[in-house]
């Protein structure tokens, strides 16, 4: 399992949440809601089922929070729990279909590799989020505009951030360099390098 077992951010968040810090809990949900959501989406659950699965997963996590043996393996725990609850929801839905309505759609199968990809993406996204947080506000604003959808022109960026068009390119390069050197991305780099060296250790 290529989880970032030594990720101090997750460990700190879990520890704070165990000790009644609601902000830490909110941050945990904010970070990993996309993981829970994306797995539900892979199983093509209906909105009502996604709502149920989400509630169950987060309630179980609240219960388990103080008992997680490896807080840093939280993404893996969330993925496994979400997957189990999705399968439960699908089984219930299939029983309904059998008893009446027609549905020839084949059952949704999500393989372990797909789940693994979602976990890796969630860890990468969380690291990027932390990395952005390490940057000065001016860099955060510039990068936010550079990745906005729809894309902003340099003229717009210049007008909004009050910086000359000519300095956007160099500033962009500087901010990305700082991002690359952030502690959060350095940790992620180390973690991914370990995974590639071990050749996907833990994957069946």
């Amino acid at each position: 399992m290529p989880a970032m077992r030594d990720d101090p951010t997750v460990i700190a968040l879990v520890t704070r949440a165990v000790n009644s810090d609601k902000d830490a809990w909110n941050e945990i949900v904010e970070r990993y809601a996309p993981l829970v959501w994306s797995i539900c989406a892979r199983y093509q659950l209906k909105t009502q089922d996604i709502e149920d699965v989400g509630q169950t997963v987060w309630l179980l996590l609240v219960e388990q929070l103080g008992k997680l043996r490896e807080p840093a393996a939280l993404p893996g725990w969330l993925a496994t729990t979400t997957q189990r609850e999705c399968l439960r929801a699908l089984t219930a839905a299939r029983r309904t279909q059998d008893s009446g309505t027609l549905d020839d759609a084949p059952p949704v199968v999500v393989d372990a590799e797909a789940i693994e990809q979602e976990i890796l993406a969630a860890e990468r996204n969380a690291a990027l989020r932390d990395a952005l947080g390490e940057l000065p506000v001016s860099c955060q604003q510039l990068l936010a505009m550079l990745i906005s959808d729809p894309p902003r022109s340099y003229a717009e960026i210049s007008a909004t951030l009050r910086i000359p068009v000519g300095s956007i390119g160099p500033q962009r390069a500087r901010c990305l360099e700082r991002l690359r050197r952030s502690r959060a991305l350095a940790r992620l780099g180390a973690s991914e390098a370990r995974v590639s060296r071990s050749g996907g250790e833990g994957c069946a």
Binding site: A17, S20, K22, W25, N26, V29, E30, A33, P34, V36, W37, S38, A41, I50, E51, D52, G54, Q55, T56, V57, W58, L59, L60, L61, V62, E63, L65, A92, A93, R95, T96, D98, S99, A121, A122, R124, N125, A127, L128, R129, L132, L143, L146, I147, D149, R172, A173, L176, L179, R180, L185, L188, G189, E192, A193
Partner: protein, 156 residues
Amino acid sequence: MREDWEDERLLDALRESQRARQDVPPWFTQAGQGAYAWHDIAAQLARLTYDSDHDQELEGVMRSAGMRSEAASIRALTFTSARLSIELEVTADSLVGQIIPPRQGTVEQQAMSGETAIVPIDEIGCFYLQPVPTGSFRLRCKTGDGVDVVTNWFVV
């Protein structure tokens, strides 16, 4: 995220992480954050394990004394936790429940709005909620012997 990441790839990764966050509707995240209300509460989760709207194979499930065979047309639900189950039947004017194994206690009906109502559980484990709750709600059962469970949110 290797050292040799080009600027464009790094920006793409940032875009991707933003998109992943934006895919998640705010209600989904807010509901998850709301689950923290259960932190430090001894209640165990009782999950929905049977719903007559979903499950047609009633045999062996309608085991509570109050549920006769003609109840098949009545909505029935069962929530199960390690230490007790909650069986529910929706009638015209009330939600009738029984906890298994039977014992006295209280049931708190909680609406998503935060409104709550508490009713007693009698000595044979039965309780009555009138009128039938509307909208999403959940039930928290506390028994005299210290069992404390809460159901998922559900609608009847």
